[in-house]
Each structure stands twice: as structure tokens, then as C-alpha cells.
């Protein structure tokens, strides 16, 4: 039985969302990993400051991709969701533990800075940034190796403790660190921190080489442990794998050559992550859980799938402009974290001193005007970037 085109299309949307989370969420986790490895409080204060500035305003929005993955999976492919959640109860619970601890770390760190607990919560944030992607990696490894039965009768320890699954976990951690360091190079450049540019460039290179080695190891393991996925990766998905490898090497090359072109570097890193995610998805086809649950057998009724298109359409209409605005403001450094109380007080009085800027109030987002405004802003930014490159170097 062939899967319906709607099921294939929703599966494609799902993998777009997974890629987005891997990229944006992964970069945030990577930030936590570099925070962990930044050394003593004194030595690590500069990179930690940069990481904090880069992540704070956006981590929450990036985190929502994960919610979307869960929701898409349970709406469009309910049996697969139920099977994964049951069989992989343990690693999923542990990744959830990481997410909660990370939130606690964030809440403490960014709002109660002078607390004595700052170091403890900082460590909490950093360690949880390590364990969450690791266990998510083991989950993906368990699914890819076909160790998740379609009708599990309890949690399956062997599924996520296989060498492949553990390797995938380490691969996820290394990849997060790699992407994150590459992005942090740009963040450092935008802020004019030459030291930190070199600092993260070096780390991106190291993490990139480690990621490549782990990816190679995982790939070799897959040959034996996941014949279906391996056949897919070396067959139909081979072009995607090749692009991913090429993009990964290209990012390393850019870093070596110190060609820190913002758009090119970000896009290449994004391609490296997205293509490997899509390659995995394509290699699993036509299975949700290789080889026990097929897409055809595991997908929801057509109307539920169509409803997810509507949701995806709404997301493009509403969320994409919002996201663009958030990242635009973040990149322009219009969003500033961690004001001290003296700042608050000063600012409140200053605003009062010249109340009600006559500037026309933009209407709430979601209206066509805002969308147009965002597009115009983006266009202006793109044009300015185009012409301002030489003197920015």
C-alpha cells in the first residue's frame, strides 16, 4: 500500500520543522555546551557574555519548534508517536529533564544576576544543554535502527542503548556545538570582538572535525545496525548526504579562510544541518518506524493531515514574519538583555521626560501592514548588507 500524497506532504513538513529545530534549537544547545567548556569564571566571562547575549532573546521562540515536532507527530502519525513515547520513555524523560533544568538555569541567570547561586544555575544551564541533545540523539538513533516496535508493551532499554544510538547521541552534541560556534563567530564579529571571533572560529573548526568523525562512525555503524536506512542513505538520499558533507566542509573552509560572510556562512551551516535531517527522512521512506510501521499504515485520516497544511500555512503567514522581525531586531542589536535596576529607573524617567514619541504606532502584528513593514525592513537590511560589506570587514 502506498502512502497518500497528503501523508507524504505532512511528513515533509515534519522534517522541515525537525531541521529548523536542529538548526535553531541546536545552536542554542551548542551555546550551552560552549558555556560549559568556557573554563573558570574569570577566563570564561567574555565568551559566556557573548553566548548569553546571543541566546537570551531568542531561545524561547527557538524552543517552540520542539513543541511543533511533538504536535505534528501526534496529529499526523499518532501510532508512531504512541510507540516512540512508550518504547523510548527513558531517554525522552531524560531529555525533558534537561529541558526543565535549562529553563530553571535561564530563569535564574538572567533575572537574578547577583545571586550567589549564579554559578550553580549557570552550571545547570550548561550541563542540561549537554544532556538534552544527547538523549534526543539516542531517540533518533533508536528510531533509525528500527528498534522501536510498532506496538511496544513497555519501555525498550535496548532500543536506545545500542552503539548506533549512543553514537548518534554524541553526534548530536558535537553537531550542536559546531553549528553554535560557527554562528557565534558571526555574533562576535557583529559586536566587534576580534578576540572572540578567533576563539569561536577555533572551536568551530575543532567541533566540525569531531562532528565529521562521529558522522563517519555513525554511518559505518548504520551499515550493520540499520540496513534499511543505510540503503536509503547510500541510495535515494545519497545526493542529500553529499550536499551535507560538502556544506560541512565548506563552513570549515570559510572559517579557515576567515571569510566571515554572514549570509553565506549561516546559509551553508543551515544547509549542512537541514540536508542531513532530510536525508535521514528520505532514507526511512516509506517507513515511520523502519521496518515495523509504514507511512501508509501509521498516518492519520486525510482531513487531519489537510488540517496540518492549514496550520503550516498559518505558520508561514503569521509566525514567519514574526520570526523575521525577532531575528532582524536581534541582529541589529535592538534587543538588549539584562538591564540593571538603575537602568530601569533611569529609563522610566527618561521616557517620561519626552513622553509619547510622535512616531506613528505600528499596528499589531498579524495585520497586513505589519507584514509589509517587516518585508520592507528586511529588504532595506538586505540592500544595506549588500553595500556595507567592504567597510564592515
Amino acid at each position: 500500500m502506498n502512502p497518500s500524497p497528503q501523508a507524504v506532504a505532512v511528513a515533509a513538513i515534519l522534517f522541515v520543522v525537525i531541521a529548523a529545530y536542529a538548526l535553531f534549537g541546536g545552536a542554542d544547545f551548542g551555546g550551552g555546551i560552549w558555556d560549559l567548556l568556557a573554563g573558570s569564571a574569570k577566563r570564561g566571562s567574555a565568551p559566556r557574555g557573548l553566548i548569553e547575549e546571543a541566546i537570551t532573546p531568542v531561545w524561547e521562540a527557538n524552543h517552540v519548534w520542539l513543541i511543533f515536532i511533538l504536535v505534528l507527530l501526534w496529529t499526523a502519525f499518532p501510532p508512531a508517536f504512541a510507540a516512540i513515547m512508550t518504547a523510548l520513555f527513558v531517554p525522552l524523560s531524560l531529555s525533558l529533564l534537561g529541558i526543565v533544568l535549562r529553563g530553571v538555569g535561564f530563569a535564574f541567570r538572567h533575572t537574578a544576576q547577583r545571586l550567589r547561586m549564579q554559578q550553580l544555575t549557570g552550571a545547570l544551564f550548561a550541563v542540561s544543554s549537554l544532556i538534552t541533545p544527547f538523549f534526543m540523539g539516542t531517540v533518533v538513533g533508536a528510531v533509525a535502527t528500527g528498534k522501536v516496535p510498532a506496538h511496544p508493551t513497555g519501555s525498550v532499554l535496548a532500543a536506545w542503548t545500542s552503539p548506533t544510538a549512543i553514537l548518534t547521541g554524541f553526534l548530536f552534541v558535537a553537531a550542536c556545538a559546531y553549528v553554535s560556534a560557527a554562528f557565534l563567530v558571526l555574533e562576535a564579529r557583529d559586536r566587534g570582538h576580534r578576540e572572540l571571533m578567533r576563539y569561536f572560529s577555533l572551536r568551530a573548526t575543532a567541533a566540525g572535525i569531531l562532528t565529521g568523525a562521529l558522522a563517519g562512525g555513525t554511518f559505518a555503524e548504520l551499515a550493520a545496525s540499520a540496513p534499511h536506512v543505510f540503503a536509503g542513505l547510500t541510495g535515494i538520499a545519497l545526493p542529500l548526504v553529499a550536499v551535507s558533507v560538502a556544506a560541512g566542509i565548506a563552513v570549515l573552509a570559510m572559517l579557515w579562510l576567515r571569510w566571515y560572510h554572514a549570509l553565506a556562512l549561516r546559509a551553508t551551516a543551515a544547509i549542512a544541518v537541514a540536508t542531513v535531517v532530510w536525508g535521514w527522512g528520505l532514507a526511512q521512506y516509506p517507513y515511520l518506524l523502519p521496518t515495523s510501521l509504514s507511512l501508509a499504515a501509521g498516518s492519520a485520516p486525510t482531513a487531519a493531515l489537510v488540517a496540518e497544511f492549514v496550520v503550516a500555512g498559518l505558520a508561514v503567514l503569521l509566525v514567519a514574519p514574526g520570526f523575521a522581525l525577532l531575528y532582524f531586531l536581534q541582529q541589529r542589536r535592538m534587543l538588549t538583555a539584562a538591564e540593571t535596576d538603575a537602568d530601569l529607573r533611569m529609563a522610566a524617567h527618561l521616557e517620561q521626560a519626552n513622553p509619547g514619541h510622535p512616531a506613528a504606532a505600528p499596528p499589531p502584528a498579524g495585520t497586513p501592514v505589519t507584514r509589509a513593514l517587516v518585508l520592507i525592513l528586511l529588504a532595506i537590511k538586505a540592500i544595506r548588507d549588500l553595500f556595507s560589506r567592504p567597510d564592515r570587514r
Partner: protein, 464 residues
């Protein structure tokens, strides 16, 4: 119903406890997610419009508190998303396609909320005042629509609609009918009003304590008046809404209603029990108002109220005493808050002045606790009242629970984590507020600030 013959293979109690404690914790933060932006933006609006430094300072400080609560709320919401699958794979595997659509919509609104929270919280310094104010508006709208979406999913479990089963398998879904099931409008309105009451009365309570301790400056008066007004507007609406919702439940989920009101036998002239404990079918220590329950349900003592004898014992909600007392507690606290709001409103109407006598402020200081208790009691009524069903009259809780054996462990871990999160959510704002006070106590009085404008322009009834 084939499910009835199902042998209880798995004990659902740990899973139910974990879900209940997760929901009970998250819902308080969700209230702030829904309503806190509106409170903060009201202060900001007054600050910008009237050039009021005290209001602006409040808005800025509240938005710092919002950053903490939203961060904790985002993770506790994620916990719930995971738990839908980790604890209830039997529900999600069978009905994920139906219940998934409202959750997907919620995802969009959560996304919008998270994005604009990022802009609003961190854009204070660099955005122009009105641009910043408008950047908060999507949070308010997305908060209400997100609540609508999630509550639609919960409503669907109470009033399942928009799906076809054949041989126990879901064969078709009508997502719109799922979303707008019979319970959605009632539950949503009830919850959004509850969110405004919880947020309004908690924040107002903090400043009521400040006023009671003698900090009677404009900063504290405004800090009390703004959230109290929002909560106070919601309170009378909530009393009305609760009455309408109870009548709806009497028709839609009669066994839940029977447990709420101790209706053991289908009858006319059903009495209204106030308080009371149910032991072996007898109500002890309760006061019965003759025929009043019938009047409340159908405006006439002759209205027939359906009792729990209408279904076999296995399908009746357990713990009728808990359900009934929770219901009474919710109603009682709702009227208490309504009375507080009416008192302040009455004073304002005739004196155009904020009522700050200790006789009023002392109960107002505990208004937030009362609002939270009322809301939690309400969720106990709706969730325990639906038992033993996870989807009303369609799927039993015991058929939905996970066969994985680790639930007691995760329950323990979750309880510890929530204890930590509670400390964070309450402790961090407390530490911040202490630091604010230590910083420069006198400065909170805007009028004394040397570089502020003259207080004459601020006007308003609170200005001295």
C-alpha cells in the same frame, strides 16, 4: 462499550497524579502567560500617555518578572506536551489525529507569544515607546487565542465530536468540529476570565502588602490599582460565566454535575448542598437548600436533575466528596473576589479615590491566593469529574495509560522539579523586589525624583 470489559492491567494512579500535578502547576504560569502582558501594557500605556514615571517603572519591573514566569511556563508547558505521549500513548495513538488539531493551533499562538515576548522583554531600551507598546499587543491576542486552542483540546475530552470510529479505529476527522465542540466556548471563557483574575489578584496582592506596610506612594497605589482593576472586571463576569457553565454541564455531563452537587438519584426538587461530606451515600455536615439545585439548573423547582444512579457504578466519578467540596470552594472564593471587586468599585464610584483602608487591603492581599485556589479547585472538578473517562464516554483512563514501568520514578522527579520551579517562580521575583527596594527606596515615589517632570502634569485621582 467494549472498553468496559477491559481488565485493569496498569494502575493509572501514578500517571494521573503526575499529569494532575503538572497541569496544576503549569496552569498558574499559563494564567500569567495569558494575562500578565495585558497588566504590564496597561501600566505602560498609562506611563507613556500621561508621562507617569511610576507607571513606567512598574511596567519595566513587571516585564522583568514576566521574563522569569514565561521562561518557567515555557518549560512546564513542554513537560505537558511530552506527558501527553509519555503518560497517555493510548489516547494519543487512537485519537491524536482528532485532538491534535487544536494543539497544532496552540503551537502557532505559542510561537507568536514566544517571539513577541522576546521583542517586548528585550526591546525596552532601543524601541520607541509606542513601537514597544505595540510589540506587546500580539502577546495579549496570542495569549487568549492560545488559551482557546488548548482549552478546545480539553473540551474535546469532555464533549468529543468531529470524528468517526470503525472497529475502534479512527477513520475520519472533522478538525473544525473537534475544535469547536460543545464545551469549547464555555470552558474557554471560564479559563480566560480565571487567568485575568489570577494574574490581576496575585499582582495586586503584592502591592496590597506594600500598602499595608505603609508604602502609600503613587508607585504602590498604581501597582495595586492596575492589576486589581483588571481582575475586578473579570470577577463579576466570571460569576455569571460559572453559572452558565454549570447549567451546561448539568445537560452535557450529568454524572459530573451529579458529583458536583451530590445528586444521588435523578429527581425533581433537587436540594442544593452547601459543604458536606459523602459517606456511604449519606451527606454529613452539609446544609441543604431545598429545591435550589433544580432552580439553578432550570429556573424552576420542578426541573429534573439527573443523578449518578443513571449510570452503573463503574462509570461514576470517584471521590464525589472531593469534587463537591472543590466545587463549593471555587464558588465561594469566586463570590469572595466578586465582593472585594464590588467594594472597591463602589468606593471608586462615589469617592473617586482608591480605597486603601486595612479592612479592605488585608483580604485583598490574599486575593491572589484565593484566585489560585479557586482555579485549582475548578480544574479538580472538571478533571476528576470526568473520571473514569479520559475521553468522555469513549475512552477509559485505564485504556490510555502507558505500559512503561517508570512512571512512579518520573512522578517523583517531577514533584521535585516542580518544587524547584516553584521556588524559582516565587523566589526570583521576591529577590528582585527586595533588591529594588534596597536600591533606593525613596525613588519609588516619582514626585521626589530630581530629574523627573513636575507631578502636576500627572493628574489622576491617586496623585497627592
Amino acid at each position: 462499550m467494549g472498553a468496559m470489559a477491559h481488565v485493569l492491567a496498569v494502575d493509572p494512579v501514578p500517571a494521573r497524579s503526575q499529569m494532575g500535578s503538572s497541569l496544576g502547576f503549569h496552569i498558574i504560569l499559563a494564567c500569567f502567560g495569558i494575562a500578565f502582558a495585558a497588566v504590564t501594557m496597561t501600566a505602560e500605556w498609562i506611563g507613556i500617555r500621561r508621562g507617569d514615571a511610576a507607571a513606567l517603572l512598574l511596567a519595566r519591573r513587571w516585564s522583568k518578572v514576566m521574563a522569569v514566569l514565561v521562561a518557567v511556563g515555557a518549560v512546564s508547558g513542554t513537560v505537558l506536551s511530552y506527558e501527553m505521549g509519555l503518560l497517555w500513548p493510548g489516547l494519543m495513538g487512537r485519537f491524536g489525529a482528532a485532538i491534535g488539531f487544536p494543539f497544532s493551533m496552540e503551537g502557532i499562538f505559542f510561537f507568536l507569544e514566544a517571539i513577541f515576548v522576546g521583542v517586548y522583554l528585550y526591546g525596552w531600551r532601543r524601541l520607541s515607546p509606542w513601537a514597544h507598546w505595540w510589540s506587546g499587543m500580539p502577546i495579549v491576542v496570542a495569549g487568549v487565542l492560545g488559551a482557546l486552542s488548548v482549552i478546545a483540546a480539553n473540551s474535546w475530552m469532555n464533549s468529543p465530536a468531529g470524528y468517526t470510529l470503525s472497529h475502534g479505529k479512527l477513520t475520519s476527522v472533522d478538525p473544525v468540529a473537534v475544535f469547536f465542540n460543545a464545551s469549547t466556548p464555555y470552558e474557554t471563557a471560564h479559563m480566560v476570565l480565571a487567568a485575568y483574575m489570577v494574574t490581576g489578584f496575585i499582582v495586586a496582592g503584592v502591592y496590597a502588602v506594600g500598602l499595608l506596610r505603609g508604602r502609600r506612594d503613587r508607585y504602590h497605589r498604581l501597582g495595586f490599582a492596575i492589576p486589581f482593576t483588571l481582575g475586578g472586571i473579570a470577577a463579576p463576569l466570571q460569576v455569571m460565566m460559572g453559572d452558565i457553565l454549570a447549567r451546561f454541564i448539568a445537560h452535557n455531563q450529568p454524572t459530573k454535575f451529579a458529583a458536583m452537587e451530590y445528586v444521588s438519584r435523578t429527581t425533581r426538587d433537587a436540594p442544593e448542598w452547601v459543604g458536606g461530606v459523602l459517606i456511604n451515600g449519606h451527606v454529613y455536615l452539609g446544609a441543604a437548600i431545598p429545591a435550589f439545585d433544580s432552580i439553578l439548573v432550570g429556573f424552576s423547582p420542578h426541573t429534573r436533575v439527573i443523578g449518578w444512579d443513571s449510570v452503573p457504578p463503574a462509570q461514576r466519578p470517584p471521590l464525589a466528596t472531593l469534587i463537591h467540596l472543590s466545587f463549593d470552594l471555587m464558588v465561594g472564593l469566586g463570590f469572595f473576589l466578586f465582593a472585594l471587586a464590588a467594594w472597591q468599585g463602589w468606593w471608586w464610584l462615589f469617592h473617586r479615590r482608591l480605597l486603601v483602608t486595612p479592612w479592605f487591603l488585608a483580604p485583598a492581599a490574599v486575593g491572589g491566593v484565593a484566585a489560585v485556589a479557586a482555579m485549582e479547585a475548578g480544574w479538580v472538578v472538571t478533571e476528576v469529574g470526568r473520571q473514569p473517562w479520559i475521553v468522555y464516554h469513549v475512552l477509559l483512563v485505564s485504556d490510555a495509560v502507558t505500559p512503561a514501568s517508570g512512571v512512579p520514578v518520573t512522578l517523583g522527579v517531577i514533584l521535585i522539579l516542580y518544587a524547584i520551579l516553584t521556588v524559582v517562580a516565587i523566589g526570583v521575583p521576591m529577590v528582585m523586589s527586595r533588591r529594588w527596594r534596597q536600591g533606593a527606596p525613596a525613588e519609588e515615589e516619582a514626585e521626589q525624583v530630581p530629574y523627573g517632570p513636575s507631578p502636576a502634569g500627572t493628574g489622576g485621582p491617586e496623585a497627592r
